[in-house]
């Protein structure tokens, strides 16, 4: 497994580290030559050290289908992915621009609806949106911000351009892995951190805490912040408990909270009831309050929406923020940015086709084998069709679905996602990856230095989701000085 970059061939794809066999990109040069200097034994030892560190830290990702065995190690590849800080600054600006516009958009939809009056965004789309919650109309959260925590997925195409693939505005997960991956890499390659100037990522929990504090309805020095989880069987439970621990916040379940006559939210403690100011909820909208949404939800708190509308508690993300987390809405984001900020998007969208438009639909149906079809409202990589890897039967199934419910689907050309060198058994091979940075917006806006790089460990696979055989890598934003 001794690394020799001359034998590593990314082909005609964009590789994050090696441009052509034997030649590393500028930002990755130090890392590439260091890795090449390691003996096969040395490299194997580092991978083992990483596996051990992960087992010790208990980094696990729950997968529903594994029955009793709910803790599974989350595969980690030790070779970091490097991005030059100069390139990153531009991405960062682009993300701030995007989230700012999206929040203005959500706030507008729930209030004046100017964007609809001005005919930039069609009313029919809003009316048919599954994630628009009429119960939230007429309310304006603090700073007008609805999506306080956003995870946007970025991908690179062949020519190296970054695109936004989707915005996760409901309950995005993965940030704990970003922080822990860095911890593991520091243990495995300590010498690399001495040689390189890599931006730290471990301030995320502190930034999250500050953002959540800024939402508190009571002017307190110590607002009571809680993380609300659906419980141990949720796939991201590890992250919920990790973030709670790092912020020193209580990790609560719905049954721990109660809304009283004064519209305030209290948690049940051994000291009696204690008022809660901010809830970082990791429970989906439809489950948070059986009075307002799904009546038989046992994960939520009766009266939570009432408490929120009365301004007695802050919810992050605000209920209803998901209206902008819809793949059809996604296709309008460039227009949304233009409309609210009068700017051109700094990071482009992946070119997309809307199935509800007759002309575009005809094109999609005629070209299914070249396209990726995505449902408007799913996450986790479920329910999509990857045209180039699909069977005729799958394509005809999707053609039927699209014709029946065009509003539920969009299509995009199959991008050839960028790759990075990944340890696969005893060899180093290119594997596809994406990047999920996290953006926090409250009183101020913060973007993580890099984010979570997810890698599709199966050869040729484009699906990076951890629930479907993906793994992750540490992501370095490298200070390159004047270069």
């Amino acid at each position: 497994m001794k690394i020799d970059w001359k034998t590593y061939n990314p082909g005609n794809l964009y590789d994050e580290m090696i441009s052509t066999p034997g030649n590393a990109r500028t930002a990755s040069r130090g890392l590439a030559s260091y890795l090449q200097s390691l003996s096969e034994k040395e490299l194997a030892r580092r991978q083992r050290a990483a596996d051990l560190a992960i087992a010790e830290m208990g980094v696990t990702f729950t997968v529903y289908t594994e029955g009793e065995n709910i803790d599974r190690a989350w595969p980690f590849d030790i070779i970091p992915r490097v991005i030059a800080q100069k390139e990153w600054s531009r991405i960062q600006e682009g993300l701030v621009q995007r989230v700012t516009a999206l929040n203005l958009f959500i706030d507008d939809l729930y209030n004046e609806q100017k964007i609809i009056t001005d005919k930039v965004f069609p009313r029919e789309l809003l009316l048919s949106s599954k994630n628009y919650l009429p119960q939230c109309a007429g309310f304006r959260p603090r700073y007008g911000v609805w999506a306080h925590i956003c995870g946007s997925d970025l991908v690179r195409d062949k020519d190296g351009t970054f695109y936004v693939l989707e915005d996760n505005l409901r309950v995005p997960s993965g940030v704990s892995y970003m922080v822990e991956n860095r911890g593991v890499t520091k243990r495995v390659f300590p010498e690399l951190f001495r040689r390189h100037r890599i931006l730290p990522v471990d301030d995320y929990p502190a930034q999250l805490f500050d953002m959540l504090s800024s939402l508190s309805p009571r002017p307190l020095d110590f607002p009571e912040i809680v993380v609300m989880t659906p419980g141990i069987f949720n796939s991201a439970y590890f992250e919920h408990s990790y973030l709670a621990q790092q912020m020193g916040a209580e990790l609560v379940e719905g049954s721990d909270l109660v809304v009283c006559k004064d519209d305030c939210v209290y948690m049940k403690t051994i000291n009696g009831l204690q008022q809660v100011d901010v809830i970082y909820r990791r429970v989906n909208d439809e489950f948070i309050d059986p009075d307002a949404f799904l009546k038989d939800s046992v994960l939520g708190v009766r009266g939570l929406l009432r408490a929120w509308r009365a301004g007695k508690v802050a919810l992050a993300n605000a209920p209803g923020a998901g209206v902008a987390d819809d793949k059809v809405v996604y296709t309008y984001v460039p227009d949304i940015i233009k409309y609210y900020l009068d700017q051109d998007p700094l990071i482009p969208n992946v070119p997309s086709y809307r199935c509800e438009d007759k002309k575009q639909r005809d094109y999609i149906l005629a070209n299914l084998e070249k396209l990726v079809v995505k449902p408007a409202n799913e996450s986790g990589g479920y329910g999509m069709l990857v045209g180039p890897h699909s069977s005729a039967a799958e394509r005809s199934k999707f053609a039927g679905l699209i014709e029946r419910t065009p509003r539920n689907y969009i299509a995009q050309p199959a991008l050839s996602l960028s790759t990075a060198p990944t340890i696969c058994g005893r060899s180093i091979e290119p594997r596809h990856l994406d990047l999920r940075p996290f953006i926090l917006q409250g009183e101020r806006t913060y973007v993580t230095a890099g984010g979570l790089t997810r890698v599709a460990l199966r050869k040729g696979s484009l699906v990076v989701n951890s629930s479907q055989g993906g793994g992750s890598k540490d992501t370095w934003i490298l200070e390159t000085g004047s270069n």
Binding site: G58, G231, I232, S241, A244, Q245, E250, L251, V252, E253, S255, D256, V258, V259, C260, K261, D262, Y266, M267, K268, T269, I270, N271, G272, L273, R302, G303
Partner: protein, 313 residues
């Protein structure tokens, strides 16, 4: 501290202690049955009576031979008092409070459950039943010791201590109840058999050696009873367990009412006249204590686990 978390820790400790005590009970009973002559009045059915699950047992079995009874006590998943159920519940409660407990605690409980499940998977009783039960007891003790030695003795730990001692009180009273079995024998023969029976009961509670050391008298039912009820220093004596609960409770908020109930219970235990209780009145007296214990549990739930809103919505 969240009420739910406190409750889970309390139950975790209760179930772990219950597993240990069930193993103790099963171990001593199988030896007793070997050592007491047939027809002196002790039957396998009584073991079911002690655990208080007669009805459930009847649903599963018609006869009460050794194998059926032991399997019901050790490996019946539908019996909430069985060894395997207790370990499984200890594990579930531990799993959902992992953040608060040293991680070795979770690992040991998990391994212990998997070990027992494997050993109890067959329809027959495990080979080397005595060794198996002894290992369960030892591993439960290890976990209790691990937590005592590595976990901060704050509120979380106090709830575990309360659970452990409450459960211990419960099982000591059940094991004593074995002694209220009327032995069919007379004169010197009865005395000899009683001596043997109560020696076993002491052994079931690991109390034999301490009894010898501190009481220094022959093994006679009323004296043993006095030791197991009134001794303030032996960890499985009822008065001692109540003292432990009392000292935990005083460290917790809003403890006034619960403290009163537990003082009253202590008073009853200490004031009991063992000479008069044995043998006829013993069973009824222990029944009464069980009821009071249930009441104490309810009070703990109301005080710390289920705070009632001042202004319910």
């Amino acid at each position: 501290m969240l009420s739910r978390v406190a409750e889970r820790l309390y139950w975790m400790a209760r179930y772990l202690e219950r597993a240990e005590n069930t193993a103790r009970l099963a171990r001593v009973y199988s030896y007793l049955m070997l050592d007491l002559p047939n027809g002196v009045g002790l039957s396998w059915q009584q073991l079911i009576d002690i655990t208080g699950n007669q009805e459930l047992y009847r649903k599963h079995h018609r006869t009460s031979g050794e194998r059926n009874v032991m399997r019901f006590i050790l490996s019946e998943p539908e019996n909430p008092g069985s060894l395997i159920s207790a370990l499984s519940m200890a594990r579930e409660n531990m799993r959902t409070t992992r953040d608060l407990v040293p991680s070795e605690g979770w690992e040991h409980v998990n391994e212990l459950y998997l070990f027992a499940r494997k050993k109890l998977a067959k329809k027959t009783l495990p080979k080397g039943l005595y060794e198996f039960l002894s290992e369960i007891i030892m591993r439960c003790q290890q976990i209790t010791g691990l937590l005592a030695g590595t976990m901060s003795h704050g509120d979380a730990y106090q709830f575990m201590r309360i659970g452990r001692n409450l459960e211990r009180f419960d099982m000591t009273s059940r094991i004593i109840d074995v002694g209220s079995a009327t032995l069919v024998a007379r004169g010197a023969e009865l005395e000899r058999l009683e001596g043997r029976l109560w020696t076993y009961l002491l052994r079931a509670l690991s109390a034999h050696q301490m009894y010898r050391q501190y009481v220094r008298r022959q093994i006679r039912p009323d004296i043993v009873l006095g030791f197991l009820l009134h001794d303030m220093h032996f960890p499985r004596a009822m008065a001692h367990t109540l003292g432990e609960i009392q000292s935990c409770i005083t460290l917790l908020p809003h403890h006034e009412e619960t403290l009163k109930s537990i003082s009253e219970l202590s008073r009853q235990v200490l004031a009991s006249d063992v000479g008069k209780l044995y043998p006829q009145g013993l069973h009824a007296f222990l029944d009464q204590l069980q009821l009071e214990l249930g009441g104490l549990h309810k009070e703990i739930v109301q005080t710390w686990f289920a705070p009632v809103p001042d202004q319910p919505a």
